[in-house]
């Protein structure tokens, strides 16, 4: 286990380093600097700007400088918001995005697991079909379509909830609902099919033969093995949540990391964009590490040492 953990951590570090290097190459390979769209400044002003952002140093020293800066979590100033550095901008957005994302993950997964269990109790029933179809539609449609229709209906049509913001609980409901759809649909599908598969296993048949009620068999015997695929898909689900948060923060005007990321990308604030890319990469690597650990804890078969 320890060696697996070390190997996985090492692979994650390599991935993060590769993402940094590829990003650096993309930014540097682009024709023209980040300030070229502005009015062309006098030559000495341009030199001063380049010196301020260290754009005049040789490439390899810029690379090492930036790598060092990121390692010390001090990536330097933003290009478009000169009074703020990248770390403080991302630091301000992160708690908001974290709140939104974790609420969506927790609520979505809980609701999805419950729906999956209810659907698996009577496979083939009307409710089962409803869950399966809703989950497929939820996974097939882009988030902005669902969010757009929800905002139209709930905020503008009925006037029940505010269409933007995040500071009050009513304004949080719609963004969290939209963001939780993908984890919920994913969980419902996986738990349903996992439970149906497990209930044909011999241990489930034995338990039923002993007179345990079908509900208890499903809930106490089959649920734990059926949850393993759910945990294993934690990393892809988290990736879907992160990309979803870009859209949701845009629609509901929530100043999280996603909003800063997209704003930065639109006005070519490279250090800010790079910072968000690295933050997302590290987050995804941590979550996939966590998913591996949880799978290992849930599945006793993985714990036995291989001969």
């Amino acid at each position: 286990m320890t060696s697996l953990l070390i190997r996985r951590t090492f692979a994650s570090l390599i991935t993060v380093w590769m993402v940094f290097t590829i990003s650096f190459v993309i930014i540097r390979a682009a024709p023209g600097g980040p300030f070229d769209a502005n009015r062309d400044p006098p030559a000495d002003v341009k030199r001063a700007i380049e010196a301020r952002y260290q754009l005049d140093a040789p490439l390899w020293s810029q690379y090492l400088d930036q790598l060092g800066g990121w390692l010390q979590l001090d990536p330097g100033p933003s290009l478009r918001q000169p009074d703020h550095d990248v770390a403080s901008i991302l630091g301000a957005g992160f708690p908001i995005s974290l709140l939104l994302g974790s609420l969506a993950l927790i609520i979505g997964t809980t609701v999805g697991v419950l729906l999956g269990i209810l659907a698996a109790l009577r496979p083939g029933s009307g409710f089962d079909h409803l869950v399966v179809i809703t989950a497929s539609i939820g996974l097939a449609l882009p988030l902005y379509v669902i969010a757009g229709l929800l905002v139209l209906a709930v905020s503008f049509g009925l006037g029940w909830l505010p269409p933007a913001g995040w500071q009050t609980i009513p304004s949080l409901i719609l963004p969290v609902l939209c963001l939780s759809l993908v984890p919920a649909a994913q969980a419902a599908r996986l738990v349903r099919s996992g439970l149906i598969e497990m209930s044909t296993e011999e241990f489930a048949r034995t338990a039923r033969a002993k007179g345990i009620s079908p509900f208890s068999v499903l809930f106490f015997h089959c649920l734990r093995p059926a949850l393993i695929p759910l945990v294993a898909t934690l990393a892809p689900t988290a990736a879907a949540l992160l990309t979803g948060s870009l859209v949701v923060e845009q629609i509901f005007a929530i100043p999280g990391v996603g909003m800063h990321f997209i704003q930065g990308a639109l006005n070519r604030d490279y250090p800010l964009v790079l910072g968000a890319v690295l933050l997302y990469t590290v987050l995804l690597q941590l979550l996939s590490l966590l998913a591996d650990l949880l799978t290992w804890m849930l599945d006793p078969r993985l714990r036995e040492p291989l001969q």
């Binding site: 993402v19 902005y144 905002v151 930065g264």
Partner: protein, 285 residues
């Protein structure tokens, strides 16, 4: 029951019908009796659906129906181009890996693992941000670059599927017989194995195309994909959200582009599912 029976259910007919209509309007949009997508009529801005503007007009008084139909062209072109790029990359890579020595197979697939471990979506956003600056994109190369990006993002699943299938096919008796008869390995791969992969490739393409369509809509919605004056379903939704406010709710601007995308995605999924069932011998009873 015929082999293609899953494709003849009523719901599959509906889905295929919708796709045919969509493709046809995309192809023939320039000749349809509709206003030009960029014909602005400021006096008629914000028209709700009526006789002149069947599904309303936007902030500049442009006909929304016409813009959706022209947007279909770009959205579908992205989906097809992305799917083709993934097909080209993925099939070649998978065939070369699966048909090569085990060392080559190992390294080619490690490379695919490596690509899959990188969160490409975020790198693509970075790339789109950088590309906005270059003169080449302003000269119209942006859309081409965009197609290439879409293909690059989604070629790995194809490579995996093709590689796995190739590995099992070249161990079959007919492949051994062909080798024994003196067929060179390259000819065996491209002339004997590849035709046998067609059903698998077809099914994988039906999985990839909706994902490309989604990704185009996602990027364009964020303002990083298709750029004005080109229109796609994603940019139409972006336009709609920019003007969405409680004072003047132009609901048609949100609803109709979303519906076009949603119907097409669902139809693609339904047809893809049916095709998978029809082509998978294990599911035939």
């Amino acid at each position: 029951m015929s082999r293609l029976s899953p494709l003849t259910s009523p719901i599959a007919y509906l889905a295929i019908g919708w796709l045919i209509v969509t493709v046809a309007t995309a192809l023939f949009a320039p000749w349809l009796p509709i206003a030009a997508p960029d014909a602005a009529a400021p006096a008629a801005a914000w028209s709700a659906p009526d006789q002149t503007f069947l599904i309303g007009s936007d902030a500049l008084g442009r006909d929304l129906l016409s813009r959706i139909l022209w947007g279909t062209r770009i959205s579908l072109a992205c989906a097809v181009a992305g799917g083709m790029a993934a097909l080209l990359f993925g099939v070649s890579w998978g065939l070369l890996a699966g048909g090569g020595s085990s060392a080559r197979d190992h390294w080619m697939m490690r490379f695919v693992d490596l690509i899959d471990s990188i969160p490409l979506v975020f790198l693509v956003i970075l790339l789109a941000s950088v590309a906005r600056n270059s003169a080449w994109v302003h000269a119209g190369g942006g859309l081409a670059l965009f197609f290439i990006i879409l293909g690059v993002v989604y070629w790995t699943p194809m490579a995996r599927v093709v590689r796995g299938e190739t590995r099992s096919l070249i161990r079959r008796e007919w492949a051994l017989a062909a080798t024994a008869l003196g067929t060179p390995p390259r000819r065996l791969l491209w002339r004997q194995v590849l035709p046998n992969l067609v059903p698998t490739i077809l099914v994988t393409v039906t999985l990839i195309i909706p994902r490309v369509l989604l990704f185009e809509a996602f990027l364009s919605f964020l303002g990083l994909g298709v750029q004005a004056p080109e229109v796609s379903w994603g940019t139409l939704a972006r336009d709609a959200f920019e003007v969405l406010n409680p004072v003047r709710t132009a609901w048609w601007m949100v609803l109709f582009p979303s519906l076009a995308l949603a119907m097409t995605l669902l139809s693609l999924n339904i047809v893809g599912d049916a095709l998978r069932t029809a082509l998978d011998p294990k599911q035939q009873r």
